[in-house]
Amino acid sequence: MKFGRKIFLGLVGLYFAIPLVATGVFSLWQGSNRYGFDGYTALFNQDELWTSLALSFELAVETVLASLVILVPAIFWMHLRLPRLKAVFDVISALPFVIPPIVLVAGMSALYTGPEWLVSTPHYLVIPYVVMTLPYTYRTLDVGLGALDIRTLSEAAQSLGAGWGTLVFRVVLPNLTTALVGAALLTVAIAMGEFTFANILLFKTFAVFIAFIGQSYPTEAAALTLLSFLITWAAMMGVLLGGRERAEIGGTR
Amino acid sequence: MSYLAIEGLSKHYGNRNILSNVSLSIGHGEFLSLLGPSGCGKTTLLRIIAGFESPDTGRLLLDGREITPVSAAQRGMGMVFQAYSLFPNMTALDNVRFGLRIRKLAAKEQLSRARDMLALVGLADHMQKYPSQLSGGQQQRVALARALAIRPALLLLDEPLSALDAKVRVQLRDEIRNIQREAGVATIFVTHDQEEALSISDRVAVMHDGSVAQIGSPAEIYGTPRDIFVARFIGISTEFDGVVTESNTVRVGGVTLPASQADGLPKGAGVRVLIRPENVHLNHAGSGSGPALAGHVISETFFGATTQIRIELAEGGSLIATLPTIEAAKFPPATPICAIWAPEAPHLFLKDGRQATSVT
């Protein structure tokens, strides 16, 4: 029994380790028996790597900001005045699961063909990214604000003569930092790796760049794969260390 | 005529000895309580008896047959845990039936026996409920019925009442005792509540740091504690430092008081004197004759039939006395009093904790 357990866990461990190791070896391969860092040098010399990475990061940050601007007031108000609305919000937050990215992109491109200034810039992607990350942002903020007991806090603040501004900026937001950071990191992780929308709407984000590289430069693609694994690892460590018991799943499949 | 015999049981976790050389025996149909403070190894001992843990040394004999190497599943003991042990996916009836299904009894027999058991614990009306629909007390009744349904060789209860509120607790403990008598099954009951142990057991084993400090009837445990740990753990008492003066007196502070247990101790030996509050007699100051502890009443606590009186002694320290309430009315707070006791009342313990008479 003990032996069986070790064998099983060993096999599972191998399954998860081998692709990473093999990718690492592959990224160092320079044909026949030569190994070296050529792949990495070539990769880092590609301007497009840096522009796509910068674009994805920019989009990620914009997504974080847009999500917070849209969601924080709504969830705040729900906890403060309209707890009944929670059922509605719960359903809304489950919708992006029922309407997956590939379906949403189909619907959006059928519905919105303009205006040109919006749909032709990569920043258009922020909209679907906000939708995609909505369930995770919503849950994080809902839990965070729920733990704060906004109602009591606001009554206490008002009985002390504090106005709305004071309440929001001096009490609620500081107490919400952990939740906000967690939600932001998760959003960044998802937005950085997002592929579906960018690929179909033809914008060259980081993930699309990886796909492009992979078609012609396998060694560089392997190096890039490892790099992206490290980015995911860093983001998830941030989420886990930020006090979230469970890191949610929202990446591009 | 011991039914279960435990011989020289020891157990350690890491480098800590949890049980050291425990020996015990239980007679047919006997109700034995394991009583002791938290962490003294009661649960560990019970789990070894049930077969969930194996001892480092020692052996268990059930009806003369060694069961030490037998697995828990084969021992056929009925175990009731502290709480949350019912299978949440089964109704009360199915929970009780579980052991019978494992034993492959005929379906009819399973059902009728399970129904009887549930009726026995007073849950005939709740057979189809899931554990989450039952109260804590009801859940423990089902657990008891489940353990009894397999007609266990031994019933093992590990603080089955500790998660319940006080009233249900008292009610259920009496029921457990009645059911146990009816079923005639030898029972080991773990608790750290002394009232519980003293009130329902045939015998009580007081455990201390992984060994049995004393085993005996509730009256013995209370009346003649074998060491200072048992005396302190069971009931309340007032403690003094004393010195043996004559063959049957001790000097406490400046007063020489009778103590028959001093008999046989060398003169000048230092002892701990423990006196139970109900053994303290009070007189108004100056009214009594002979040596007595002088002091005055500082507070009273009303318990209904009895009243507890706290006394501040003239030479420092305090003393607790319990009197019938009618008596106590004679000693309102601030009354100067003198306190005496009968020669056999105080328990004397040597500095190492052993009881004085155990030396002679």
Binding site: I18, L20, P101, G107, G251 | F81, N89
Partner: protein, 281 residues
Amino acid sequence: MRRWRRRALPVIFIGPLILFVLSFLILPAGQLLLSAFRDESGNFTLTYLEGLADSSAAFENSILLSGASALLGTVVGGITAYLVCGRENSARSFVRAFSAVAANFAGVPLAFAFVATVGSLGMITLWFKQAGLDIYRLGFSLYGLPGLVLVYAYFQIPLMLIVITPAVEGLRKEWREAAEGLGATPLQYWRMVGLPILMPSLASAFVLLFGNAFSAYATPYALTSGALSLVPIEISNVLSGNVMLAPQAGAALALGMIVVMGLVMLFHQLASRRLKRWTGR
């Protein structure tokens, strides 16, 4: 003034979210619904929905792939969760951290990791070849359904670990011991107590994994470049004009996908309701 504020405040706070969800989630989905039932000239038609029959292969493949990978994930992830939980803390937090990463490490990079490993020129493939074993000759292909199942397991197993761990940790020691004390063998315990208790959680985890695989797009796209017929791939083919299909056919496919995902969500809800009855919460 006060009344104005009472009316305006909710709109200011909640309005943006509602408006956003309406415009970019509900309306696009509604648009798909409409266009799936409308022909070129705007008349009601069932042609496109009936046309879904032609894409039955895509649905079949998708369901097969999702089912197989979800089953694999449920079984392997479930057993792993059971074996890991209750162990030393360091091992557990490593597994927890790694599953968080691996569950999110999907899409294009994951596909490439497997290409570099067991692709036709992958490291393992080449090593085997040097040892005289050509796995592609033996019928293995990373770019077919079995290969995709192998790749999907990389995010399905960790996802399973994450969602099932609380349920596995919720299995009380008392239940196992009570069963054992009543004479049950470990097998009987699992058959009569452990698995039945876990069943709702396992079922809802399975459908979650199923939906997770069903909506996956980046991974199969990167692996097969759109050659393997899966529902998300077909939709994207229509969108990028790679196939000669009307946009309405794409809408019909997308509608089919919404239905499947809706069912997944429904099962998920039902399973968790069952769980609530037991836990009494």
